[in-house]
Symmetry: C2
Subunit: 158 residues, 2 copies
DNA sequence: TTGATATTGATTCTGATTCTCAAAATACAC
DNA sequence: GTGTATTTTGAGAATCAGAATCAATATCAA
């Protein structure tokens, strides 16, 4: 079973990490990585449904969690807690690092990037003797369309 | 039992909000607010222990959660999820808004503020048609003392 | 191919937060 | 002040995401 042979650099990265740590490259891990690389961000539950319905019906949810955490350790993923309950895993390779602009009234989430902010972040970190590996920036507010926001009437009426 | 009469502006704010929404100012809410205003940030559990041991042994944990969420709605508090599991409630009035610099190796958390970054954030928000109410910036990395970090040996040895 | 070791999946467990509901407290009209 | 409608409380149950357990299975290196 020589699989697709399209072992790109992420799979290579995974392999290297696994080997270095005496871990094993399993079909599950490969399938999860493959699916994860296709998305921008996803929850464990979504990824579970995605994979178990399309590829491996017998895949266990625990394996999803374990592997997503693995990907976060490698640096391919990053955990992010939105509001309450939802934890999403960002694919940090999918595009350049980006930050989020989140509307409190509707569910709109805009991704943006600002090299200027990143530069200042590095500066602040250096000033405090830190070397940065990553960061998380979330701006909350309301968007210009707030009159059309889904939750506006509900929250205004409270 | 005319309590202290030191109803400062935060209690007044709480009162105004409660009245406006046909809610009631209870002794529990007042006690929780009072305790919350003394700290910089705290978890629900910590606040529960603090209050139930020192002031009101019969205080229910659910009331702590309910009231903390109330304070967040008013804008006195802000929820923040660290790593996994821990959710802390920031007292946003306690000091000027600050961001966090978090060491991945030890548990060190440094608070900092950067008006320059804030300014750029406003700029980005405006560019996308957003009006900001608050934000959250967390920088992850390792501190200069990483050789002394508590978890360093553990994680290096993995 | 073998054997030591790591991983999986099913399940259970955990711990944080929310929900439930009868009893108690509060606000407001009088 | 008093009465009463309404909200809140506390105790415990329910919920839920995520982690832990463990026997069965897959992987890797020799």
């Amino acid at each position: 079973m020589h699989k697709g042979s399209s072992l790109n650099k992420e799979v290579a990265l995974l392999k290297r990490y696994l080997t270095k740590n005496h871990l094993k490259l399993t079909q599950q891990r490969e399938a999860i990585l493959e699916a994860f690389l296709k998305v921008d961000h996803i929850t464990a539950e979504e990824l579970y449904r995605e994979i178990s319905k399309k590829k491996r019906p017998q895949m266990g949810l625990a394996t999803i969690y374990r592997t997503l955490n693995l990907l976060c350790e490698i640096g391919i993923g990053q955990q992010r807690h939105f509001d309450d309950n939802r934890t999403i895993y960002d694919n940090v390779l999918h595009k350049k690092h980006h930050d989020h602009l989140i509307c409190n009234k509707c569910e709109k989430i805009i991704e943006f990037e600002s090299p200027a902010i990143e530069r200042l972040q590095e500066e602040m970190a250096a000033r405090h003797g830190f070397t940065l590996s990553n960061h998380r920036l979330e701006l909350f507010g309301h968007c210009i369309d707030w009159k059309n926001c889904r939750d506006w009437q509900k929250s205004a009426g409270r």
